[in-house]
Symmetry: C2
Subunit: 302 residues, 2 copies
């Protein structure tokens, strides 16, 4: 049996009781280690907590070596641990499909992921549109396909969850070219970088999918002991020191309920000012006012 | 301290290790018991698992008697347990706001909810639009505000998570009128009812937000031992026996990736037929084909 087990967001003890019982009985335990990190735990602390050795699974192993992970899983129990939920932002459907091809049963033990826990910022999950990802720009590579998606969400008034780039075990172009297996230190996009990149693309596209005054919520270290929320405009967030990773950003849509706004006030410096920015932003994509049908008038005088 | 603790989807042991440790140390333990149920557990089994007495919190207590729940929480630890995640489909932001007004600290221990675990059906979470709720229709009350939201989602190609009505501790109109505190047996909307109601509204509105041939995924007892998925058209699902509750329905959007479709095939009876329905449905809301700009021709002969 292959068990896909979500680890939740931060602590070793964020695993579910059922998840922990399952890890303890598995013959091999893999940890998917390239798309996210547990903020208040590491490999050593997890191994101690589980009483089991953990095999770190990098992208290469998962995408090319999945048969190694699945070896013997027809008879033995194998655990594949994923930070958050196995079907969260990064899904592992290809591993599941491969397992089923090999006749291996699969069971999922779910957990919280940023995709649902982000509701802790006070914005209602059912008012979110599609989720987008923002990657680190370089001088020559500034992918902006997210821009149309934000536009689509905001046109219908919805909030947008913006997942920020994580670079783990990346090679520099030089090291890659020379075939040197030297990896760069991990990089996690912070809020100020994300806000700056968003403004940079708006300055290029100029279609007003959003403006530098669009209100957002910066979500830092969600579910960890130092979790922090900050509600401010994009421009204000370019100056925000968001601290240690991980970070996520939510851009508000026009449909902001009073209860959502009330909840956000605890994360702002100046309520009245924030409210004014929200109201100003709500002017974008506003549906045209209702005009009652009128009887047709004959304006010709002849 | 007020602890909001998610219980996950099904088993007693779906609570996180940290959640369980917290419940055990709390002075009073409330279970929010009116918006969902744990499918493989009940009050008695939870009390045994926690070694603690549980106070069932109905809507009245949570919405009107929240100060009773919060009594003493400045000094004592109080647990408020929620099936799924505390910030999932039903949020408890008003309880949090009230706690903060009273100077009571709040900590959330997240868990899986249908809002993220639905990814287990193989459709990518980041391709979902806004979530809608479908309530039981009566002869005189068929609220259809969800229809425009499905239309908005599908216009931009997104999938729609459709949460199905749960009626717990409801009074009949007669008993309510006579002031008799007699409650109807709980009711949980099944897939066939949901599919029929959706078709009923399309038949009235006729704006083709979807058709009876629109492909959907029926998600039954998500995360429980008898979890089941069924991919079929709305019309086919009107005949589907989805079994015990709880159920959720996902309506596909036009943007179906190959990997999503490949995953769904395990839940269909006839791959080729299902694929044909998906392709037929993708014709709706199709963007106009790209027309390259042409040089202006002078078609006048004079």
């Amino acid at each position: 049996m292959l068990y896909l087990i979500g680890l939740g967001l931060s602590y070793e003890s964020d695993i579910t009781v059922r998840g922990l019982e399952t890890v303890k009985k598995c013959k091999r335990v893999y940890l998917e280690a390239y798309t996210s990190i547990l903020m208040a735990a590491d490999q050593a602390s997890l191994e101690k907590f589980y009483g089991r050795e953990i095999i770190l699974a990098d992208r290469e192993l998962v995408e090319i070596g999945s048969d190694d992970i699945l070896a013997g899983a027809e008879e033995d129990d194998i655990a594949f641990l994923v930070v958050g939920d196995p079907f969260g932002a990064t899904t592992h459907t290809d591993l599941v499909i491969r397992a089923r091809e090999l006749g291996i049963k699969v069971e999922t033990i779910h957990n919280a992921s940023v995709m649902n826990a982000v509701g802790a910022c006070g914005l209602q999950l059912y008012q979110f549109g599609q989720t987008i990802s923002l990657v680190f720009f370089t001088d020559s590579w500034k992918p902006d396909s997210f821009y149309n998606k934000i536009m689509e969400n905001r046109k219908i008034g919805l909030h947008t969850l913006i997942l920020l780039d994580i670079k783990v075990k990346e090679q520099s172009i030089e090291n890659m070219a020379r075939g040197r297996l030297i990896y760069e230190p991990p990089r996690y996009m912070d809020i100020a970088t994300a806000a700056s990149q968003l403004i940079e693309i708006e300055d290029i596209r100029k279609e007003q999918a959003y403006t530098e005054n669009t209100p957002c919520v910066a979500v830092s270290r969600l579910g960890s002991p130092t979790q922090a929320f900050k509600a401010a405009t994009l421009k204000e967030l370019t100056e925000y020191d968001s601290g240690e990773p991980l970070h996520t950003l939510v851009m508000l849509g026009r449909q902001v309920h009073d209860l959502e706004l009330e909840y956000l006030y605890q994360f702002v410096q100046d309520k009245a000012k924030f409210k004014a920015f929200v109201e100003q932003d709500q002017e974008f994509f506003k549906p045209p006012p209702y005009v009652p049908p009128v009887e047709e008038l004959d304006l010709d005088d002849d």
